[in-house]
């Protein structure tokens, strides 16, 4: 499994999916593989205090859900391939802890948005400052 052996190739090439069912099956297989690699990833990056397995699973499911409306088979295959590549980087420790924290655990909204997520306490001082941190994007 991807999590146990470093440098095991997760990405798969080959002939593309021919039907939507096959593409769906491919993406679900990849989801299962990602979930199975999660305990090793949590171990490698010391994420035990920061998040739980269930939470990470939900985050991965949310990433999948972003592309739930895609129906072009080639696009689905490409998305699965990119996802597998991302998983490969996480498993191989090519990424670092702050990458995972920023991209998945806290997420983009946490970094430049709601300051509560960064762990700062809110004393109710300044709405202006909160909007300032949140930015205009």
């Amino acid at each position: 499994m991807a999590g146990l052996i470093k440098n095991l190739r997760v990405t798969q090439t080959g002939s593309g999916s021919r039907t939507l069912q096959e593409a769906h099956r491919r993406s679900m297989d990849f989801f299962r593989e990602a979930c199975r690699a999660l305990p090793a990833i949590m171990d490698r990056y010391n994420l035990q205090e920061v998040t739980t397995l269930a939470d990470l699973r939900s985050k991965i499911a949310a990433e999948f859900r972003k592309h739930s409306k895609v129906s072009n088979l080639k696009v689905v295959d490409m998305l699965v391939f990119k996802g597998q590549e991302e998983l490969q980087y996480c498993v191989d420790h090519s990424k670092q802890r702050h990458h995972l924290l920023g991209q998945y655990i806290i997420g983009k909204e946490g970094l430049a948005g709601d300051v509560h997520k960064l762990g700062e306490t809110d004393h109710g001082e300044s709405e202006f400052l909160k909007n300032f941190y949140r930015g205009n994007n």
């Binding site: 679900m28 989801f31 299962r32 979930c35 499911a61």
Partner: protein, 130 residues
Amino acid sequence: MRHAVRALHSCVLRRLQVQVQLDLPLKASVTPATRWCRRMFSDEAHATHLDRGEVVARVLDVVKTHPKADPTKVTESASFQDVGLDSLDTVELVMSIEEEFAVAIPDAVADKISSCPEAIEYIASHPSAK
């Protein structure tokens, strides 16, 4: 002298024939004699089939704590779609069940689990579910 001994040796050996009784049945049935020498390979040897009530309680618990599931609709005979989950949520739920019971469900089997009774049935019959 040596030849005589050898001749006697071969004569004796030819006469001595152990009666082999092939009355063992072809299929290994568990007779009192064979019970104690049944080979216990790992899954069978450490089989701790969980109590069914406990399996039901724990599976329903896992389903209820899924963020997208509607806890009021979770019953022992509900399908995951009734509870409000789509196909991606179903896969995620099956992975949660795998984590809860410390088993590894093969993909082909996992694809078929789409309701509470199926999940309960699988876990209850899995020999090394914890």
